[in-house]
């Protein structure tokens, strides 16, 4: 048996969501509807905890300054500390890595012509920890190891949707050559529509977000051809983070011709969390 992808998870990673959990505000009227929307996924996740999560996220000027800007980076360390982003580190467990599998993915994916940057010192910020909090709550330790895949979506040009989808396919091929019977999930995070800068700050486009979710499920190949300008114009300058969701989607069986289309376990949208439109999706491979 090899490592195999059983499901993919998608979620926004708004820092204020983490702060709401860390400060015990989840029952407040502002936040309660958002957290209720994740309840079904938390229950499902408790019964379907993977052996490893490959977690696609972006660093927000935390581990990577303007000194070095990798387009795609993979964390191959055994341990990733929770970063202090300026408000103090979130009171959440440090992240345990999966160095052996991560190194295998790096070697395989680079040989498939994706120039992954290999990172062994990687403090992880809200982009990675907020999704874990949303899906697992507040445990003393995260229930499984995590392999971070960091994508540059801060400095333009970011990778195209097409390239992200293809990277997902390459990660799938890498896992299928790993000789260990592992249940793996790939998570895509960030988005949905939001803009944090300029006179247009506060932009939300719920119709764009809904259609993005529809197409991510049913038409990922078509969605991968959406140009950057459409994300930016329609979903805000920070809405471009959504390209990362295509990496997780690209890792599923249907796109490799190895199985039927995935099943939707749960889908949820909520506006707003701070400045952001929140979207969430869990897809699983049919049994």
């Amino acid at each position: 048996m090899t490592a195999r992808i059983t499901s993919t998870v998608y979620t926004s990673h708004v820092p204020a969501i983490g702060a709401a959990m860390d400060h015990g505000k989840t029952d407040e009227p502002y936040w309660a509807p958002l957290f209720e929307g994740y309840e079904p996924s938390r229950a499902w996740m408790a019964d379907n905890t993977p052996d490893v999560i490959v977690l696609v996220y972006n660093d927000h000027a935390t581990a990577f300054s303007l000194d070095i800007i990798p387009t795609f980076a993979i964390g191959t360390a055994a341990h990733f500390p929770v970063a202090d982003e300026g408000w103090g580190p979130r009171p959440v467990p440090d992240v345990v890595g999966a160095p052996e599998l991560a190194s295998h993915i790096a070697q395989s994916v680079i040989q498939q012509d994706f120039d992954l940057t290999i990172v062994n010192r990687l403090p992880v910020d809200h982009g990675l920890t907020v999704p874990l909090s949303l899906l697992f709550g507040q445990p003393d330790a995260w229930p499984c190891p995590v392999i971070p895949i960091a994508v540059n979506v801060v400095q333009y040009p970011v990778p195209s949707g097409r390239r992200c989808l293809e990277l997902g396919k390459a990660i799938r091929r890498a896992l299928s050559s790993y000789d260990d019977d592992l249940n793996v999930q790939v998570w895509g995070t960030g988005g949905m529509s939001h803009q944090l800068q300029g006179m247009r700050a506060g932009l939300i486009n719920r119709d764009f977000d809904s259609e993005f979710l529809d197409r991510l499920v049913a038409d990922p190949e078509g969605l991968a051809d959406m140009p950057h300008i459409e994300y930016v114009r329609e979903a805000g300058s920070e809405g471009i983070e959504l390209v990362m969701w295509l990496i997780a989607r690209g890792a599923m069986a249907d796109l490799a011709g190895e199985g039927p289309a995935p099943e939707v376990v749960h889908r949820f949208q909520h506006v707003p969390a701070s400045n952001t439109s929140v979207g969430h999706l869990v897809l699983r491979e049919p049994a």
Binding site: P15, A16, Y30, H60, A61, T62, S65, L66, D67, D84, E85, G86, W87, V154, Q155, Y156, P157, S193, Q195, L196, Q197, G198, M199, R200, A201, G202, L203, I204, N205, R206, F208, H228, I229, V232, R233, E234, S237, E238, V271, P272, S274, N275, S277
Partner: protein, 145 residues
């Protein structure tokens, strides 16, 4: 032939492309330095002196002193870096984002709770020029009465 930059046509939006990043390198690295508690203390003790240690333009330094995020974005700042100034001041992302819109903090928050800023009328520069021209025409008519 230059690079294709179709995003220059989006109103109220500055894309942090390689040109902006080049312009803002020192500004953003200054912001990054505020991740360190000792640096935050030194900055707070004498902002001007701390800024003078960096190879930033006077416009950028003044933008930091004024907490004028629009000016800082225009001179190459990126919001995720500028957020370090906000963290030093104890401001949230929502306060920072709202400060760039000309709205009060309460009005901005209310807009977000009501579903955010609509994309309608906010896709293209000419839509804003049109709106500004209409407002001007209305004001001028008003003045003539």
């Amino acid at each position: 032939m230059g690079l294709d930059k179709p995003y220059l046509d989006i109103p109220g939006t500055t894309i942090f492309d390689t040109e902006q990043a080049r312009r803002g390198y020192s500004l953003n690295q200054f912001c990054m330095s505020l991740m360190d508690a000792a640096n935050r203390e030194r900055f707070k003790a004498d902002e001007r002196a701390y800024l003078d240690e960096w190879d930033m333009t006077e416009e950028q330094k003044q933008g930091v002193l004024d907490r004028d995020l629009n000016a800082l974005i225009a001179t190459g700042g990126n919001i995720y870096f500028l957020a370090k100034i906000g963290a030093t001041d104890g401001s949230s992302f929502q306060q920072m984002a709202g400060s760039m819109t000309g709205m009060s903090e309460d009005d901005y928050r209310a807009m977000m709770v009501a579903g955010g800023r609509s994309v309608e009328g906010n896709r293209y520069l000419h839509e804003w020029d049109g709106a500004a021209a209409e407002a001007e025409a209305a004001a001028s008519q008003e003045a003539q009465r």
